[in-house]
Point group: C2
Chain length 272, copies 2
């Protein structure tokens, strides 16, 4: 099911700036039992990312109604929302008057193996290094060739996710997830002011940890520090939380803390 600008259709104009320049942003969110999970957070991120690129964000009510329409016919699915700067004459200059294109597409909720949650996942250490671009860092924009090239480095079966470093051996994020380390009972997650995408689940984990009196530091984290951590996990809106079992020669047994964090998120979800 695909809606483009509120109309059930599966095509967009070939001269949309989304395809010409990757000039837009996106989000992916789960629908469970006809409810879009954490809608307010997803909308806030979408609006924030649009503002970073100076694209007028769609009204929340408009998007929420379209999400609800999909959720009525597909009670359990995932929805991808893309907002582009719309059509324009050729040339990089953003048009004076922007009519953004919004694409909402549903797809079946991915069936991740149970053992990813119980035993943890193996991470490929990507050779591609993320470029440092503060003007775009943190934003879930449509310029995702780095992720595509990184994801092409390994086959489906070997690893569940790939870990991306910057040019200075700092860990930044997975190709589709954010990373956390557990150290002496506290949490830390990479600073994303130079590269990487700041996901909604990353924010929710930081907030949930604070509610439970667990500090989460947001700072530069070198690969060697990750490899010394007591526990490591990755997270995003669809997978939830996966313990990391293997990265770059180091192995971990999933600890109690990671399952507890998963529970914190479920609690918070039930309450919100």
């Amino acid at each position: 099911m695909i809606f483009v600008n509120g109309v059930a259709q599966s095509v967009i104009p070939a001269d949309d700036r989304g395809v010409a320049y990757g000039d837009g942003v996106f989000r992916t969110l789960p629908v469970r039992d006809r409810q879009a999970s954490h809608w307010s957070r997803h909308y806030a991120k979408l609006a924030h990312d649009c503002a970073r690129l100076r694209i007028p964000a769609p009204e929340e009510a408009t998007l929420a109604a379209e999400v609800a329409a999909i959720a009525r016919s597909e009670p359990d699915c995932a929805i991808k929302i893309i907002i582009t700067r719309g059509r324009a004459a050729r040339g990089y200059m953003p048009p004076c008057v922007t009519e953004p294109t919004r694409i909402l597409a549903s797809f079946p909720f991915p069936a991740y193996p149970r053992e990813h949650y119980e035993r943890g996942v193996r991470l490929h250490l990507c050779q591609l290094r993320l470029a440092s671009q503060p003007a775009l860092a943190g934003v879930k924009h449509l310029n995702r060739l780095e992720n595509v090239l990184a994801r092409a480095e390994w086959g489906e079966a070997d690893y569940a996710e790939g870990m991306l470093l910057d040019g200075e051996d700092n860990v930044i994020c997975g190709t589709m997830s954010n990373l956390f380390v557990v150290e002496s009972g506290g949490l830390a997650t990479p600073d994303l002011t130079r590269c990487g995408v700041a996901g909604v689940t990353r924010d929710r984990i930081i907030a949930a940890a604070a509610r439970h009196g667990v500090a989460c530091r947001v700072e530069r984290i070198a690969l060697e520090r990750v490899l010394r951590a007591e526990q490591v996990f990755v997270a995003n809106s669809l997978i939830g939380v996966w313990p990391v079992q293997y990265l770059a020669g180091r192995t971990w047994q999933p600890g109690e803390i990671i399952h507890r964090i998963g529970q914190w998120l479920d609690e918070a979800e039930a309450r919100s």
Copy 2:
């Protein structure tokens, strides 16, 4: 006039990886008197860029026939060619079997002011710095948010082009053009192995200079070196060669050498 996969239509699938990830490449080339200028060079670059992203390039004959069809009905125009990795299931991993999408769109040849060629152009020095990403450098790919943000820094009337630096104060290229400096009779143009786009006209200028016994160094060029240069010019397939009249407080009078280089390109064009 827009062709998508050989069919006259103006839409593409909303789930194309071109819009989802900017997963593709493009070129823009002039058509003069029903002939696509320097077609072989443009096709070679397109195929090279596709190979860099591991996208199967369309056959030259296929693309050439579509370009010729446009040129028959629009004898003087410009054509933008986009090749994306096509549709695929959600997720960054490139599909096992790729069916690329090709978009050919014509637009009127831009009417650049005569004085841009005779008196030269003013360049805005962009605040945005290009990120260093060797895996994508040189490729004319669809991840162009840096160019969009840079182009949004100034209004139409003030400057004809913007100059982009990397994070170390090296000049890389314009938002839509390549840069050359003239020093003691020789030429130099920035190394593009860490960022920037390597255009066809850049190659043609290097080749034309060599034919006329003028060396062109390809190397890192600091902004301060550009500001000390005898002459500076920018070039691309549509504009040809524009002398630079102003950049960052420095002014130049267009010199004979720049007009001569423009003539070299015309000669070469006549011969090819």
